[in-house]
């Protein structure tokens, strides 16, 4: 007999598959979004952002852990060869993929937040969640 003591909360926060009726943030998250390392140039990050059609570009380390996010205004205002790490926003707010999607979209709407970074409990990137992707 074994006890998975961390339980369902741990499983869902790790963005692992589940069965049931829940509508969780991970289900509405845009995956495969543009990422760069903090030593990439602003020009490269801007190119990725424009190819993607939405931002920000998420800055990750070699383990895929989110370090920050680079936004269009900072990238366009920076020298082309500037490192993303010098213009990225640190300490971006993140949510887990296990959050109830409707409740999260409602909270985002209340605060005027249009998008947020979704990470697993270990800090690795899942993707970007846009409130409009969940709001009917």
């Amino acid at each position: 007999m074994h006890d998975y003591a961390s339980g369902k909360a741990d499983w869902l926060a790790a963005d692992l598959p589940f069965e049931g009726t829940a509508e969780l943030a991970g289900m509405f998250t845009r995956r495969g979004v543009a990422t760069v390392g903090e030593h990439a140039t602003a020009a490269e990050a801007l190119r990725l952002l424009e190819a993607q059609g939405f931002g920000p570009v998420v800055v990750v380390n070699q383990a895929g852990v989110v370090m920050g996010a680079a936004y269009r205004d900072k990238l366009t205002g920076a020298a082309k060869e500037a490192e993303v790490g010098t213009v990225m926003r640190f300490a971006v707010s993140t949510v887990r993929p296990s959050e109830d999607a409707a409740a999260l979209a409602h909270r985002m709407g209340d605060r005027g937040v249009t998008r947020t970074v979704v990470t697993r409990s270990d800090g690795t990137l899942v993707g970007l969640l846009f409130a409009a992707d969940k709001t009917p």
Binding site: M1, H2, D3, Y4, A5, S6, K8, E19, G20, T21
Partner: protein, 87 residues
């Protein structure tokens, strides 16, 4: 945790034919390895929470019914129980 010695669901721990097994705590990676080897997953939360979301392949045996329904489990395969979290 109570394990039935024979298929007699009306019996209770402490009676002949029953034994008490303390569960071993495992983490997510161990769970994945064990289920890959055929372990049974049991969610012990109430049915509405199970219906909302449960691990793939898990069965629902709410804690209050666990003793009475443990006979439904396959004794030849490992059993992993879980609830929402450890808090």
């Amino acid at each position: 945790m109570i394990r039935q010695g024979r298929a007699q669901p009306a019996r209770r721990a402490g009676e002949p034919g029953w034994e008490i097994t303390m569960p071993t705590r495992i983490e997510r990676d161990e769970l994945q390895a064990l289920t890959g080897q055929g372990a049974q997953l049991v969610e012990v939360l109430p049915a509405d929470e199970y219906d909302w979301a449960h691990l793939p392949g898990a069965v629902n045996l709410p804690l209050k019914e666990l003793d009475a329904k443990a006979y439904q489990l396959d004794r030849s395969r490992p059993v992993i129980v879980y609830c929402h979290d450890w808090y």
